[in-house]
């Protein structure tokens, strides 16, 4: 697959929550293979909903989402799980099983490749166990393989989560506010890790961020959401300093206009 082919396509996607809140409002967005997309916007603008629609942790109300040309909206059962296998995700709160070892947590990323009974008896192949150790080394935590997840610091846990995500051998990596619970130094490490995956392994990365400066530093493309609408979409080269006021202060302008 070459760069420039569409890998995620949102077509007229709407999401209305049962309580009437509009999560996504007619989103049309095409993300290409190998991009590093940062999604910015206020809290509640729909950033998380957009990411979770992409791997269908949330169902959408209408519209179509194609992953590598295949619809995830209509996928069911085994088919859905196979699509998900190609999309890794990391989370604001890391979502590790705190009482399990780092090794087990990383292998959890691989369960989609095995039949259920094999995983339950712990029958992961030696190659996958090797891969787990290698992925941990890739995020510079090699010596923590047998530690319990809750013994690690927040930044370390997030990097374990990245190692887990890599076990999926994903084409796409979704990251939902991956640094919101971290301090500035570990923030850089985690973002660097993501950048490395993007550049070295060619994984398409989509990250939700609050920080505009980080977005400008790492992204190849910046997308802005406001109240569930897509209000901004530019390649990094075209991004102007003043642009972000529009995304963040847009709400005020709307109020003034109304």
């Amino acid at each position: 697959m070459q760069e420039g082919t569409p890998i995620i396509e949102f077509k007229d996607v709407n999401k209305v929550y049962p309580n009437g809140t509009v999560g996504l409002d007619n989103i049309n967005l095409t993300i290409n293979q190998g991009e590093f997309v940062v999604i910015v916007g206020l809290s509640g603008a729909g950033k998380s909903t957009l990411l979770r629609a992409a791997n269908r942790l949330h169902d959408v109300s209408s519209g179509e989402i194609l992953i590598d040309g295949q619809s995830i909206v209509t996928a069911k059962g085994k088919q859905l799980r196979e699509v998900r296998r190609n999309i890794a995700m990391i989370f604001q709160n890391f979502n590790l099983v705190k009482r399990s070892t780092v090794e087990k947590n990383i292998l959890n990323g691989r369960v989609g490749y095995y039949p259920t009974w094999k995983t339950i008896f712990g029958l992961f192949s030696a190659a996958d166990k090797q891969q787990a150790a290698a992925n941990l080394q890739r995020v510079n935590l090699g010596e923590k393989l047998y530690s319990r997840a809750d013994e690690l610091s927040g930044g370390q846990q997030q990097r374990v989560a990245i190692a887990r995500a890599l076990m999926q051998e994903p084409k796409i990596m979704l990251a939902d506010e991956p640094i919101a619970s971290l301090d500035p130094r570990t923030t850089m490490m985690v973002m660097d890790d993501l950048k490395k995956l993007n550049e070295e392994l060619g994984i398409t990365v989509i990250v939700n961020l609050h920080s505009v400066s980080l977005a400008k530093q790492y992204a190849s493309r910046v997308v802005g959401l406001r109240a569930g609408k897509l209000v901004y979409d530019k390649q990094i080269a075209d991004v102007q300093d003043g642009d972000f006021d529009e995304i963040y202060d847009g709400k005020d302008q709307e109020v003034k206009g109304a």
């Binding site: 799980r81 998900r84 995700m89 099983v97 959890n108």
Partner: protein, 262 residues
């Protein structure tokens, strides 16, 4: 001058408290009448009660060796009953947990069954199982299995409902099946709670199993029934002391282990 806010009639005369007191008193009197409570009879019969008590104060220590084997059996019954009950409880508790099973019908049916099981007193189950499988420890094991199943399922599903949902989301996103999600994201989080509740249920089962034998369901209770039937209260005392020691030792051990699990 300040005016003090007026209390309403209900507040001033504590109407609610008075109504409740009257209701409770009326129920109490009705209950006493219905059960033939007779303080006089109690006072005159009290020396009878004390008579037994005095006899129990002079335990027949030579009876101790006969209690060892039944006490061991009591513990074995409790161990096996707890194990069977807990194993069966695991799938039921997963199905009864609000955050795992979103289907209200399935959850409702499972919870209904669990509530039904919990209404049955242990001795009543013992009476029935003695009728089914005959006198002996087998009846006790089955009784304890059902009894602990009801209790432990509830403790388990309440533990499951308090877990961190994050890992579940992570596993789902990685393409895991429902079973894999439960196995890798739910069970590791509740594992220690489960062990702790297992031990707690074992403690309760030890207490329960000491009297099951009264109905022929094995264990030390059989000696309780025998000594009481022979009016050998000095031997009853030995059985009661033995029970007490076993309960205290098991409680202490189990508490130690449970603290280590924290």
């Amino acid at each position: 001058m300040n005016t003090i806010p007026k209390k309403s009639f209900v507040q001033k005369w504590h109407v609610k408290a008075i109504i409740w007191t009257v209701i409770i008193l009326a129920l109490f009197i009705a209950s006493c009448v219905m059960t033939g409570v007779d303080v006089g009879a109690f006072l005159t019969g009290f020396n009878q009660f004390m008579q037994i008590f005095y006899e129990m104060l002079k335990p027949d220590w030579s009876y101790v060796p006969f209690t060892i084997q039944p006490i061991i059996q009591t513990i074995q019954m409790a161990l096996i009953g707890t194990l069977i009950g807990s194993i069966v409880a695991v799938p039921f508790s997963v199905l009864a947990a609000r955050n795992i099973v979103t289907n209200t019908l399935v959850r409702g049916v499972i919870r209904f069954i669990l509530n039904l099981v919990r209404t049955l007193p242990d001795l009543m189950l013992a009476a029935i199982f003695v009728a089914v499988v005959g006198i002996g420890p087998m009846a006790g094991v089955l009784t304890l299995a059902i009894f602990s199943f009801g209790m432990i399922s509830k403790l388990f599903y309440e533990a499951i409902e308090t877990i961190d949902m994050g890992p579940i989301e992570a596993l789902t996103a990685a393409g895991a099946t429902k079973t894999q999600v439960v196995w890798f994201a739910v069970l590791p989080q509740v594992y220690n709670h489960f062990l702790s509740y297992f031990l707690y249920t074992f403690e309760i089962n030890v207490r329960a199993s000491t009297i099951l034998g009264y109905l022929g369901a094995g264990g030390i209770g059989e000696l309780l029934q025998r000594s009481l039937g022979q009016f050998r209260y000095d031997r009853t005392a030995i059985v009661v002391i033995g029970t007490f020691i076993v309960v205290v030792v098991v409680d202490t051990l189990s508490n130690q282990l449970r603290e280590r699990l924290q």
